[in-house]
Structures are given as C-alpha cells and as structure tokens.
Assembly symmetry: C2
Homo-oligomer: 205 residues x 2
Amino acid sequence: MSKGRLIVISGFSGSGKGTVVSELVKKYDYSLSISATTRAPREGEVDGREYYFKTDEEFKSLIDYNGLIEWAQYVDNYYGTPRKFVEDEIKAGKNVILEIEVQGAMSIKAQYPDALLIFISTKDVETLHGRLVNRGSETEDVIKKRMKRAAEESQSMDNYEYVVINDELEECVDTIHYIVVSESCKKENKGELISNIKNQLSKWA
Amino acid sequence: MSKGRLIVISGFSGSGKGTVVSELVKKYDYSLSISATTRAPREGEVDGREYYFKTDEEFKSLIDYNGLIEWAQYVDNYYGTPRKFVEDEIKAGKNVILEIEVQGAMSIKAQYPDALLIFISTKDVETLHGRLVNRGSETEDVIKKRMKRAAEESQSMDNYEYVVINDELEECVDTIHYIVVSESCKKENKGELISNIKNQLSKWA
C-alpha cells in the first residue's frame, strides 16, 4: 500500500478555513488530525472532537516524550499536534488534514518535506476585513489585532505550495481535493508505475 | 484577463487518449487545437473537425511562413499544429488542449516552457496490449509495431509533468481537469494575488 500524504492547511482568521476543513472531511475521504490544547473547553466543545483538552502537566509530558510533531504557545495556552495519530494514518495510506498556524506549518514542512502546504485566502483584503466585521462578535480592537496578524501571516504565503481562494465554499473544498488528486499524478509520485511500464515494454523494443 | 494555458496530452496508442480528449472538451471548457495534415481524409472525417486537410504545397507553405508551432512526418504524411489558433486562444484566456506525439510535445515544451505536459497511460502493459488486440482491426504485425513504438515513447514519460492512468474513462477525464485547476492554484501562478494581498495588508501591520 502506498503511504498517505500530510496535508497542511493554513489561512487568515476570517478566510473561513475552519468551515472549509470540516466540509472537506465530510465530503471526501480524509483523516482529520485533532490538536491537543491546554485551553479550557468552550461551551459545546467535546474532548477528542474539537481538541484533546489537556492539563499543563499532561501537555508538558507530551512534549517531553516527543509526542507532538509541533507545538506552540498562544496567549497563555499551549496547542500541539499529536504525533501518533498522524504517523499511524499516513502509514495506513490515509491522507491526513492538519489545520494549523503558519509557524507550525513551517515546522511540519521541515520535518516532513513531503507534506503538502495549502494556504486559504479571501480574494482580497476588503473581503477578509468584511467577514471579521460581519461576525458581529468581535470588538474593533480584536479586528485590528486579527488584521495585524494577517499582515504577518501574509509574509509566509510564498512558503505554501498552493493558494486557494475561499470565495464560494464548495468550490474551495473541491479545489483542495483536486489539488491532492493532482499531486498524486505528478511524475515524481508515479516513479514506480513509470519504471514498471518501461520495464514491461522493454521486451517489445 | 489572465492568459490561458497550453495543455499537451500524449499517450500510448491503445491508452484511449483520443476518447479522453474528446470527452474532456465535451465536459469542460477547453479549446481543442486541430492538427493540419497531408494525409487523405478517411471516411466520415470532416475538414476542420478531425484535421485540416492540406495538400503538400499548402503544408510546406505553412512551414515556410512559420504557421506551425511543431510538425513531423509519419510514414509519408505530414502532421502539424497551426500556430494562430493556439496563440489567439491563449491570449483570449482559454486553456488549449493539444493531443500530440511525444516528439512534438518536447518541441512544444521547448518553445512554451509554461505548457503543461500530461501523459496518459494504461495501468500496465498487459492492459495496453489487450486493448490493441481487442480492437480486432489490427494485424499481429501492426500490434507489434505499436508495442515497439510504446516502448520508445515510454522513455519520454519522465519528461511529462503528470502521468494519468486511463482505467475508468470519466475518472481519467476528471483527473486531467483537476490537474489544470490545481495548477492554477500553484503559488507560482498566484503571484499577483499574493502581492496584492501583502500590499493591502501592509497598512494593518
């Protein structure tokens, strides 16, 4: 069986990447990696569905035992990607989706050069700002912080292999799937097929 | 408007590439380049649909006036790709499909480095041989020649960017379309979007 692929998805806050990822795993056959975090569950969040909720001690122990492929601290909380699930699924031939921040994505790429990095963006900054404003739940100050963060994140867009615009949700979801299918047809990923065919044809030459 | 892309499709005789290409242009929005040839029309073939049928003099004049982007001689006939259609369509933002032999594909890539090269193959040589035998119309000698040709062509598979297996027709057709969509999302092809977004976000930094 051929190995699965690690698919890293990042995007601006307001790009709609969370919805894109959840539709992607609903519609197509992907494994979704669930992050571990030390932040408290919000109402409605379920352990093992949104996150694996950990105490500080549990999280530090995961780090110590090399149980995370990447981790980071935001505000006062830790977030990280459990290693075992990702590596087991890839070994089992499944494509694994990782929704992750820009920094984490770079760290993943350094460890797994074969990981596929996809950045989700709005078609322009006006749309991004509009979505944050229209949520209605964010103060002006929070919106400013998000935009500042987006400005920083945009500096890393060139480090992604693909940039997909989330203008129409289903189109964006399908496009990500198309990228994964298309990647599997790259000559570099068809080495075995090509050498088998050359080999079998050589007796007709 | 952004420029269209030149999509070059090659494949073994028996890979079913002709059917794949005709389904592709039926189902999706591509322009199909029609070759010029000096061979006589077969029953049912229409000038300007299967080929532009030319006399030797007309064909030579096309060559002399740089009217072909590539041409070759097979047996006693000339085949070539008219330049004007391809370049006009690309300028108009259309993706142009070119079904062409391996040699021609290499010549196209040298002239249009941006051309996307896709090779259609069966999943193995047994299937390829089986399809040629099952046509029923080919003598054993012709089949041997086709297999010998396939052996030669297989040496060029590594020069294509993608290899798509035609096992199930519709899947093969869709996959080629996915590759084209996916290619348009490559970071390298999103330079303008990325720099616009960086630029617009810089005032929030």
